[in-house]
């Protein structure tokens, strides 16, 4: 299958980090057109029509999200870019920020204009030191050139962009925890409702979008909503960056249409499994997604199809495991991560992740008790759906799905009385 690529076309060069090169290639023209020639409502309608989904993981339609900003709220509005790319197996936003930072800024500009924000934040994970530096530099350049600032691109529209570096907490990728962190508090998710679109950053209406989502926006305005929505699948417009990692010949970021199947991603794009190995399992959307076995890979990679398959598209982090993989070890890895990253606010997640990790550790050491599988399922299931944010579901999913899909490997290790 042929894929029309646009997001990833600049991934093999760093020249577009420079404002000059970017503008020479037609950069900021779309933004200028949007700011000067379009109304915010028009922009939102275009984005809505493009079926652009939130590409950070939840897949919430971006245009819809923008339209939730209350019109009558006198408070300032904010755009926050979620660049806290913490999901294990995901590394697409880094490519975008390193290789095409101005694309992000342009997307932010359009989005900020659409929602009426004059200040936008990029919340970037603390480990992304180089991307953050590049962004800082790009913003400084853009501001110096009058692209940003009180008069953006010569219009009346004012926009300031601030890069905010996180401190390395996975939970701060959750939008409300991100807001808390941005406000200078401990990164813990907030109770919803109210949603950030109503009460967000500093109690003001706020839109939070992923880097990739915003990078798509200039293209949509440039080439039309129709083009974009046709690129992808039904109600899943456009392309998506898939981060293939694990036991394939060529791991990396691949831009594909949402229509692509998992099989194609593995065997065509990534060049298939390593020499002499066969596929055992795939996690299609970051570590929080339910695992799939080798004969479940014919599913299409859009949000709705994967949901139907019992898993989720998530952040696009496809982790491929071959037959040399120890699933208990894999689960141990996941649970170690979750128990370390639970924010500790809600009891089920705080205590459940630690419990699940202890049980899996015991299994890994071959010390599993006879009823440990039941205990692990019990803990995992009870974490799901009972917490403030989606972390509980994320932390519960691997335990349940790994055991469902590979019960034998777990049973073998749970023999102690």
């Amino acid at each position: 299958m042929q894929h029309e690529r646009f997001l990833s076309t600049r991934f093999n060069t760093t020249e577009f980090q420079d404002l000059g090169a970017y503008r020479k290639a037609g950069g900021y023209e779309t933004a200028k057109k949007a700011i000067t020639a379009m109304t915010p409502a028009q922009i939102i309608d275009v984005v809505k029509a493009s079926n652009l989904r939130g590409l950070g993981g939840a897949g919430f339609p971006a245009g819809m999200k923008w339209s939730f900003i209350p019109k009558d709220n006198p408070n300032p509005r904010y755009l926050v870019v979620n660049a806290d790319e913490g999901e294990p197996g995901t590394f697409k936003d880094r490519y975008l920020m390193v290789h095409d930072p101005h694309r992000l800024i342009e997307g932010m500009m359009i989005a900020s204009f659409a929602i009426g924000a004059h200040k936008a934040y990029i919340y970037i994970r603390g480990e992304y030191i180089r991307p953050a530096d590049i962004l800082d530099k790009a913003i400084a350049q853009a501001r110096a050139a009058g692209v940003l600032g009180p008069k953006c691109l010569g219009s009346d529209y004012a926009l300031e962009i601030v890069v905010f570096r996180g401190a390395g907490a996975y939970i701060c990728g959750e939008e409300t925890a991100l807001l808390e962190s941005l406000e200078g508090k401990k990164g813990q998710p907030r109770l919803k409702p109210p949603f950030p679109a109503v009460i967000g950053l500093f109690n003001c209406p706020t839109v939070i979008n992923n880097v990739e989502t915003l990078c798509c926006v200039p293209y949509i305005l440039e080439r039309g909503a129709d083009w974009f929505s046709k690129l992808g699948a039904e109600k899943n417009g456009g392309n998506r960056l898939f981060c293939l990692s694990g036991h394939v010949k060529r791991p990396g970021v691949y831009e594909c249409s949402m229509r692509v199947t998992l099989r194609e991603l593995i065997y065509e794009q990534a060049g298939g499994m390593r020499e002499g190995r066969t596929l055992k399992a795939v996690i299609p959307g970051g570590i929080s997604a339910a695992i799939l076995t080798a004969n479940e890979i014919d599913t299409q990679m859009d949000f709705d199809s994967l949901k139907k398959a019992g898993t989720m598209a998530g952040s696009g982090g496809v982790i491929i495991m071959d037959d040399s993989t120890n699933m208990v070890k894999a689960l141990w890895n996941a649970m170690q991560f979750f128990s370390h990253e639970s924010c500790g606010q809600c009891s089920p997640c705080r205590e459940g992740t630690g419990w699940a990790f202890k049980v899996v550790s015991r299994m890994l050491n071959g010390q599993g008790h006879k009823n440990d599988i039941a205990a692990l399922l019990h803990a995992s299931r009870n974490m799901m759906g009972t917490t403030i944010c989606a972390f509980g579901d994320a932390a519960g999913t691997p335990g349940v799905s790994y055991i469902q899909k590979f019960p034998k490997e777990f049973e073998e290790r749970c023999t102690h009385a």
């Binding site: 109770l191 128990s339 639970s342 019990h378 009972t386």
Partner: protein
Amino acid sequence: MPKLTIDGKEVEVPKGTRLIEAARKLGIEVAHYCYHPGLPIAGNCRMCLVEIEKNPKLQISCHIEAADGMVVKTQSALAKQGRQNTLEFLLLNHPVDCPVCDQAGECKLQDYYMEHGLHDPKFDDNKVRKSKKAFPIGPNVMLDTERCILCSRCVRFTDEITKTHEFGIFNRGDHSEVGLVPGKSLDNPYSANVVDICPVGALTDRDFRFKCRVWYLGKTPSVCTGCSRGCNIEIDYDRLRPHKKAGHDRIMRFKPRENSEVNKWWICDAGRYSYKLIDHGRLVAAKQSGIDASLDAALGEVAGLLAKAREQGRSGRIGVLASPDMTNEELFLVRQLFREELSAALAFEMAEPAGHKDDFLITADKHPNRAGAREILGTGLAKGEELLARAARGDLVALLVFHWDIAALAGADRLAAAARGAPLYVFATHENRTTYAARFALPVANFAEQSGTFTNCQGRVQRIAKAVEPLGESRPAWKILCEFSDALRLGWTHESAESVFAELSASVHAFAGMSWQTLGHAGATWKQGQPQEAAAAR
């Protein structure tokens, strides 16, 4: 006003009411830890899960607002299972050291464990040890981070109520623990309230520590007398166990009692620890010039003196210094006996240094019933100092002093001068320099040992009740006044403070329409309109 159904019962609640409050209105208690009606909602304990029809997931009832037509089930199998699962999580790393925990017996973990019957926990690994076990975090509070279930009530209390921000929750995941912000100590004037709101034994009272198991406590609703706010309290006393040695403190602690009109859920530390005065330094026997004497002799002498003065028509020269520490009933009897019957020289106020006050509960007036005294006795009266001066001039045949420690306020010299000029009779709860100087000091019961009413600074009449027996020979002042009335053959028939109050409400306008029953345990605000009725009558 949304109308919803909870457990098959319909209820209508104001908009914005949370489900947990709507359920409470129906008398249904949904198990909860982090939710407290006086604090912002955190929704982190995930205990108050209920099932809402047409909603696939269980929802926390402390956060979800009641909506019209909602059908809520708090007792469905799913909801119960959900709460049981949460409880299991909460107990995973709880040390379950109930034997050494002062909270045992009033611990919500215990209560809900019994309610939800989690008798087959699946966790069988080592618990996470927190950094520190019990340690003091302020003058009044001990913290045990292991017992903490991280409900964040204490954090929210210091953030929202006292705004002193001492607490924080540190670390992540199951290593999270509550603690003090570095460099701070929990020493705000309301610090011990965190003990009350802590649903488990993480925050315990240093003063109450290991003193008594809570199931030995008897509880009597009463009112704090520390200042004129009249915070509602509960007197927790040790139900004397026959095998326990006598002689130890009877009152174990004060706990604030919810009254949304007065003190909400809180009480200041000064009031909370004022229980120590109930048993310490008490005047337990009549004293004659500081030496033990017969109470009957003392009462007889005063009664005889009153009768003689009336006979000789000199009763106007009896000085009576009543006190705003007295109950409304006692003040009413003072008015009836000394003003209406004897027309004695009456006062109830003295010059006092201004007390500490803040903008929350603590008031500057350190007497519980000044409002009541002014209403009953009137505001146009002489001050106590004038009575002292008259006594010193020899103008009085006797000076009766209730509660006031004159030596502390007016000085020992003026006290001595007054005592030289007229026989001084002091009715006091505690021994002090005034009782030593008096011709007779008579022991009276304090507020924990009698029933009655106080009127707080808002004009709210609130009942106190007897928690313990009067110490030693002491007896309530109203009983003493009734004895004097017998000596004067006035024909009073009061058998309880309640009957005095009935007469009071019949004759003093502000109290009109009130009765012991309508006051209840929350009290009632008196009538506005024609205040100072007594003064007007003069």
